[in-house]
Amino acid sequence: MTASEPTPPPLPNDEGAPTSTALAESTEPAATRSGESQPVMAFIEKYALVMLFAVVFIFFCFWSKTSATFPTKANITNVLGDQAVIGILALAILIPLVCGEFDFSVGPVAGLTQVLCAGFMSRLGFPLFLAILVPVLIGMVIGLSNGNTVARVGVNSLIVTLGVGTVLAGVVQWYTDGQSIITGISPTLTRLGSGDWFGLPRTLYILLIVAALVYYLLEHTPYGRYLHSIGSNREAARLVGLPVERLVLISFMLSGALAGFAGVLLVARNGSGSPLVGTVIDTLQALAAAYLGATAIKPGRFNVVGTIVAIYFLAFSVTGLTLAGVSNWINDVFNGAALFIAVLVSTIIGRRRTGTI
């Protein structure tokens, strides 16, 4: 499956399917969005998510049910710190998404590297730097294998990565025997996970550094431009001389490595390696953020800043509702609905912009 880059729509452009709206001249390929719309509309489109976020945040600060618990330092730093992991997963999934490929294995990869990181320290007595480096490398190797199957063999990325994710979940059960690994975790690592710098959780700084790197990669390097080109038109990218297979493969390796690192961060945050953390559900949450992010800041384009905004919009909304006494199921419902609405909105924006109503 391809997530064609412009409107991140769930459906790839079916070859000339004669839908009543596919009437656009076919050499002007069912244009997904026009260049500029009116300045005011463009502004609203860009910042709608940010404004919505602000409204939700202010609402929970003053709503009688949450005004005592929501706007507290403890709550806010907690959310900021907790979401770093999902944030990095979202950045991981973003990279292949830009070139039109899905990596559903990011959640399970983090789940695996998390128990491995804990296991390496607790069972094998690895020094800290190896306990961090090896899981990241393992994530990268899994990405290499995914990328190879997708880019060189040509198997649908959705299927490949879902399959691999399921296998990894099984491996985690086997490795941990269903038990959390809680002893022997390096205190240096857990301090990184729970401590703060200047009043903000350290994991937040880590997320921001990773986000800056991914932003630089996607927006300011030829590699990033190439990925966007591949996402826009793969065959054209090949015919301007891009080594498409290799570029796609590398995107999966980067995604795997980032997911592996997210696993390490989970250990730092939780102080343990748990067989229950790091699943496809996390992938979906990351995906929701990536799609939602594509409706903001640079509408119609997967982008880092939008993704980070989306992560925290989702997290603060869910926390607010939980604090208001809505039970835990809200989490799944909210994230699922967010993914659905994000795809819907970005598709509608795209169609409205070309006037195909």
């Binding site: 001249e25 002007e28 500029e36 001389g241």
Partner: protein, 537 residues
Amino acid sequence: MTDPGDQLGAGDAASGGTPPPDADSSTDSGPVDALRVEHLSKTFPGTRALRDVTFGAAPGQIHALLGGNGSGKSTLIKILAGVQHADPGGTIAVRYHRIAAERTTPEEARDLGLRFVHQNPAVFPALTVSENLAIGNGFETGPMGTIKWRAMRHRTQALLDRFEIPAQPSTLVRSLRPAEQAMVAIARALQDQEGEQSGVLVLDEPTASLPAAEVDHLLSALRRYAEAGQTILFVSHRLDEVVGFADQATVLRDGQVAGTLAGDEITENRLIELIAGRALDRLFPDMPEVVSDEHVIEVSHLSGGPLRDVSFGLRRGEVLGIAGLLGSGRSELLKMLFGAYGHKGGTISLEGKPVRFRDIGDAMDAGIAYVPEDRGTEASFPAMSVSDNLSAAIIPNYWKGLRLRDRRARADARSAIDQFFIKASSEQQRMATLSGGNQQKVIIARWLRREPKVLLLDEPTQGVDVNARAEIYALVRNAVAEGCSVLVVTSDFEELSHVCDRVIVLAGGTVTAELRPPDIEPARLTELAYRTKEVAS
């Protein structure tokens, strides 16, 4: 079909749920137009695509819609189809039914009796004719929801007879001639006008991707449909097919109607004057004389794909044309030279040294550039800006100090837009919103900016207006003057005869003839391209 009462009835039947005929419509005494647009305007941010366009198409006539790239033809058609909305104030009238153009819907357009066939008709090559037709009309199903194949076959056969398409319902569309594929798309669009054939059929560049002989085939089919009462509005850039074929022609220039011609007034010179706004003294520039005997590219005994044993040389500063029919292997030949299509046997040498490109990057490094045939699927990045599209093949040039120099890329794009006469509101406009011909100029500019040694052009002027065609060849000429060599494939043999120093004819996968200037004539090329094909098969 000229009895006004009859027309009124027809309009009624076609209009379904739309309001009753406009009693006080200001139609003058003559027969009412089958399709009439009045005061149509359309503003995009940064451009006015249409300004106060008014014209009418008489019933049962073939009406050509012409104009330079970006003059607003496709926009007009999209408004007629209801997929884009005009600015307030315009109206669209079909016979006696008039609707406001700022809020038409596709359903309304359909109810009015308007039918559309878009460029590169969306047929499904791997499905049968019968399935292709059913897709536009819904499959007939039995009580259990199963498809009633037999009924479908009958209906399809009736349609094939009505539109005189020589095919069986079970024929795969892939195996039909290109013109017949287009006819299937037309039949699909018109199939629900049971018995009654007085609608309006709108075609956007139906002939742009068809080779010359296919064009005649399709045009004579259109003529038959017009004689049966259908009104036809079609867009074309090929003036030779409009002259002597269209009954009326409306020319747009910069979104305004530059003029409407009828019957004998439609001559190539008049049309060019209206399209370009001035008389063009030369359609094709003189190419500089080839000065060198040195071969830049030497191909010997090349085979692979549809090609067998192809040999020829390309000299420095030469424009070599390849004439051949669709499927003769001409596009594959260019792709092989560009490293995009592997070859089995034979050698390619570049400047005397045998080369074997492992991939496209190698070929590009060696100084070869390739403008592919199908812009939509092979060349353009629709979601990206014009600037990004222009720089796609030279991105590493902008990678300095660990940063992409985007501002410099954009400044360069602005000068390229001027230099290559591209009509865009800014370098940041999305590629997808450029008109077809201007997208083509962007692609050509992308490659010429690399200052290649060898330029491979596959159908470079497809969908490009007369004016821009002259401009494109002027650009090619400049490149040639700097020592570039050009290999050009086009179905337009007229064009080959004007721009080439030499033409080789490719048929059945091999070179069957070579022509030099006094002998390069369109008729002779057509004959050779066909005759050798028959010999080969």
